[in-house]
């Protein structure tokens, strides 16, 4: 940077969360930089004079389907494996520590050697020789304040065992005694403070009971690959329970790592609750992860009431805005070759005002108004792959998207916000008929896949019964045999995507209603016919659906 002017920007696949010089010194020419992202990717860029070159990206994936590692919080280089080449040490926000080895220098991605997990997010990591000379250790600090080392020293060096009696060396004995004394002292202090607090709240004078403040480390981020939000909540002490409340309908998806007992409470939409779920945590859980899928167009607030196991009992609320176009994610470039619908807004508004409205509608935007005359942002829908381009400046804003429902949502929300601020807007829409057909083509493979999956899963029970009655299943057609063989996988896939089919139906219905809404025609009465076509989609096909959409 020169005079605080940005030289150039580097485009990355996801928001970055951590930086580290390659090999701790920038590599051979001192110009290589490692970055870690919020969704768990690690990549290497080579910074040149005027631009940067991407060398490699280590994707986020792990053994079995569906488990993903958390975002990167810290990195370091140290030779743990003892092979003379420094290894990459990585700490993540879901508590995983990994060691990667560079097989090929800076040419290709490093390979994973070791990994371990603890239950709290890692805040700092460093490799060094600490506990014992001659043995390398990875030192890590966690959110709750633990500092621990993972060592390459064999565990039982200090203990010898003879005829069933375990001898501990003098050093270790002293260490253990000292730690015990420390613990006793701390316990005494806590008891004293607690007694004092009790006395204060029950005294004759109007007692004061202040609510103890505890800090909460929370993060909510959009996961592009499966169009869901991951909410993680972490507290410095053990959590007793967490109550999730939402005033708009959302789906809660399962997270395997979650060991809390979840229970849904019946809610009455009249009282403003569409979701009331309690998570009762096991002992010593300090971290909770929840996956949420929102519905675009339904916007409101998700609240988390977090109650830790502290005395006196208290609870803190965290609020998360669910935006109207919540499933859209930022991308860098815009594909101009698609059929687009355009929404143009003209009126007496300034750039900061319009920027505030756009921030109201879309995630992953900075709160501060961008400098300059105009702002330009591009988004992709993580559910459907349609794009949205926003270009706005004082007095005029243009939004282009190949999904007519996106434009419809934007129009509704922006008009409402402008009316609230009493700003008059001149709205004009250009609707492209082709875009509807284009969107249906995009939806078609997903719809087909889900219907196929649903059909196959519904056959599984029947096929299994046949299989158990007959010893030889060779009379089954190859399709059925395949279903029987992969039954477990199909079931797992089906369960991971609850309501996926319902969602697709919802989007197609929205598309239908929106297309005619822009013409001023209300077609809600024809929705049941549309649903019938969708239910029989297996035997009918895309053209049939397109014809229905275009019929007058």
């Amino acid at each position: 940077m020169r005079d605080s002017e940005v030289l150039y920007s580097v485009e990355l696949p996801s928001p970055p969360s951590s930086l580290q010089l390659f090999y701790n010194d920038g590599g051979e020419n001192g110009d290589q930089l490692l970055y870690g992202t919020t969704d768990g990717k690690i990549g290497l860029v080579q910074l040149g004079r005027g631009s940067a070159a991407h060398r490699w990206v280590l994707e986020n994936s792990s053994g079995s389907v569906g488990t993903r590692q958390g975002g990167i919080t810290c990195m370091d280089h140290h030779d743990i494996t003892g092979d003379g080449v420094r290894d990459l040490l990585v700490g993540r926000d879901d508590g995983t520590i990994e060691v990667f080895a560079y097989e090929d220098g800076d040419e290709s991605e490093p390979t994973l050697r070791f990994s371990t997990a603890c239950n709290e997010s890692i805040t700092g990591i460093q490799g060094a020789v600490v506990g014992n000379a001659g043995y390398d250790e990875i030192l890590a600090s966690t959110y709750t304040g633990w500092v621990f080392g993972v060592t390459s020293e064999p565990m039982d060096r200090h203990m010898t065992s003879e005829s069933g009696v375990v001898h501990i060396s003098q050093e270790s004995k002293q260490k253990i005694q000292k730690l015990r004394l420390e613990i006793d002292e701390l316990q005494q202090r806590v008891l004293k403070e607690r007694d004092q607090y009790q006395a204060a709240t029950q005294s004759a004078f109007p007692g004061i009971s202040a609510v103890p403040f505890f800090s909460v480390n929370d993060k909510i981020s959009l996961n592009r690959s499966d169009a869901s939000y991951l909410l993680s909540v972490e507290v410095q002490t053990a959590v007793d329970n967490v109550l999730l409340q939402s005033d708009v309908p959302i789906d809660l998806l399962d997270v395997e790592k979650n060991s809390a007992v979840v229970s849904y409470s019946t809610c009455d939409p009249e009282s403003g609750n569409f979701l009331l779920a309690t998570y009762r945590c096991q002992a010593n859980t300090t971290r909770l992860e929840v996956r949420i899928r929102t519905i675009e167009g339904q916007y409101g607030t998700l609240q988390a009431y977090i109650t830790p196991r502290l005395q006196p009992k208290c609870c803190q609320v965290r609020q998360y805005r669910i935006k109207p176009l919540s499933l859209h994610s930022r991308i860098h470039s815009f594909d101009p070759n698609r059929p687009y619908n355009t929404l143009t807004l003209k009126g007496q508004f300034t750039l900061p005002e319009m920027h505030a409205w756009v921030v109201f509608c879309l995630p992953e935007l900075p709160e501060r108004t961008p400098s300059g005359e105009r702002a330009e942002f591009t988004f992709v829908s993580t559910f459907l792959d349609t794009q949205l381009q926003c270009i706005y400046g004082p007095g005029e804003a243009v939004f282009r998207s190949d999904n007519i429902s996106t434009i419809s949502i934007l129009k509704d929300v922006l008009t409402k916000e402008a009316t609230r601020k009493k700003v008059r807007l001149d709205i004009s829409c250009e609707v492209s008929e082709e875009s509807v057909v284009h969107a249906l083509h995009l939806l078609h493979p997903r719809l087909e896949a889900q219907l196929m999956l649903a059909k196959q899963v519904s056959l599984i029970d029947a096929l299994r019964e046949l299989g158990s009655h007959e010893t030889d299943t060779s009379f089954l057609s190859p399709e059925y045999k395949q279903i029987l063989d992969n039954a477990d996988e199909l079931l797992a896939q089906y369960r991971k995507q609850p309501c996926h089919l319902e969602r697709l139906y919802g989007m197609i219905t929205d598309l239908f209603i929106d297309k005619y809404k822009f013409k001023g025609v209300n077609v809600k009465s024809r929705v049941p016919q549309l649903l019938e076509i969708l239910d029989n989609y297996g035997s009918l096909d895309l053209q049939h659906l397109i014809n229905f959409f275009q019929a007058q």
């Binding site: 309908p249 959302i250 229970s263 339904q298 609320v317 965290r318 109201f360």
Partner: protein
């Protein structure tokens, strides 16, 4: 909880969009002298189905933001949450509970108390036991004598029985025995609006019981069971018949194909197709029949269980097995006698 799917099915047009809530500044204000008062009462307000009500109130100007009740067996999940709208927060609230069965339940109630607009709340944890018969409300007016009754002898002092009543029912004040050492108290079941009268007095010797309404019902259920059995047998015979015909048709169709007689082959396959349709509709009827049969049998079983519950220990097993015998031998009169007096 898959109700969400109904909303998702219609996308954003099924419900009105909600406005965002403003985020407020967080202030951890001290709360002075706040205590929480908890009361359980049975309630038969007309606007809601009969329920047990939990009333919570704070003693100062703080408001109740939310209440989480953890209990086993009375909710769909293991918890029930009461979370009113931001703009309708008050210092006292009433939460209705609908226990489905008569079992004592431990309620762990966590109440979040604080000031309006705050992001930090006090959590008050209270545990109360919901008595077993909380869905029976005390009657002060006189009620019709119910037709069914059970009379039995207890080797207990009246005082202990009174204590049992106090702990098993939800009463605002404890009951007391009256002057001549007896007690008569009437309850109204909130679920079925049927009266329950408990009279405690001195001796009676044997266990007598009579529930004419129930026994009549049992009789009619057993008749229906007979019918369903008969239908089932008939349908199975039909099915066996059909499979015979199918076998012949398949053979004939194969023969026709091998002889390249396409005309006949098509004819045979056509008949097969019709027969298949008949089979499927026969199957559907059989399914229905089976379901009805199952529910009748369940009712019979429940009645036997209820008869068994009137007695304890050896007499209970005697009654249950005698009932089963009577049903096997289709002897309705014996059944009635067993339920009434416990002997054949």
């Amino acid at each position: 909880m898959r109700r969400i799917s109904e909303w998702a099915r219609l996308g954003k047009y099924s419900l009105a969009n909600r406005q965002q809530q403003e985020t407020k500044l967080e202030l951890s204000q001290p709360i002075r002298n706040c205590r929480l008062v908890l009361q359980l009462t049975g309630n038969e307000e007309n606007s809601k189905p009969p329920h047990v009500e939990i009333a919570l109130a704070t003693t100062n100007d703080t408001v109740i933001r939310a209440v989480i009740i953890f209990a086993e067996g009375i909710f769909e999940g293991e918890s029930h949450v009461f979370h009113p709208r931001e703009n309708s927060l008050t210092s006292n609230i009433r939460v209705p509970l609908y226990p489905p069965k008569d079992v004592p339940v431990d309620l762990h109630i966590k109440t979040m108390v604080g000031y309006k607009g705050s992001l930090h709340y006090h959590v008050f944890e209270l545990t109360r036991q919901l008595p077993r018969f909380s869905m029976y409300a005390l009657c002060t007016t006189s009620v019709n004598q119910p037709q069914g009754f059970v009379k039995f002898k207890l080797n207990e002092r009246v005082a202990r029985i009174v204590m049992w009543i106090n702990s098993s029912f939800l009463l605002l004040e404890d009951m007391q025995a009256n002057s001549n050492g007896g007690l008569e108290v009437s309850f109204l079941s909130l679920r079925s609006s049927l009266p329950l009268i408990i009279e405690v007095s001195s001796a009676c010797d044997i266990v007598e019981a009579d529930f004419p309404g129930e026994l009549e019902q049992l009789g009619s259920v057993l008749e229906r069971v007979e019918e369903y059995h008969a239908t089932r047998q008939r349908l199975s015979a039909e099915m066996a018949d059909h499979s015979g015909v199918i076998r012949t048709l398949v053979v004939r169709a194969e023969d026709a194909r091998l002889m390249s007689d396409m005309q006949s082959m098509r004819q045979w396959y056509g008949e097969l197709y019709n027969l298949n349709k008949d089979l499927i509709s026969g199957y559907k009827i059989r399914c229905n029949n089976h379901q009805e049969l199952l529910s009748c049998l369940k009712q019979v079983n429940q009645t036997i269980q209820k008869a068994g519950r009137l007695r304890v220990g050896k007499s209970k097993t005697v009654v249950v097995s005698a009932c089963r015998q009577a049903i096997k031998s289709n002897n309705i009169n014996a059944l009635t006698k067993i339920i009434r007096s416990g002997t054949t």
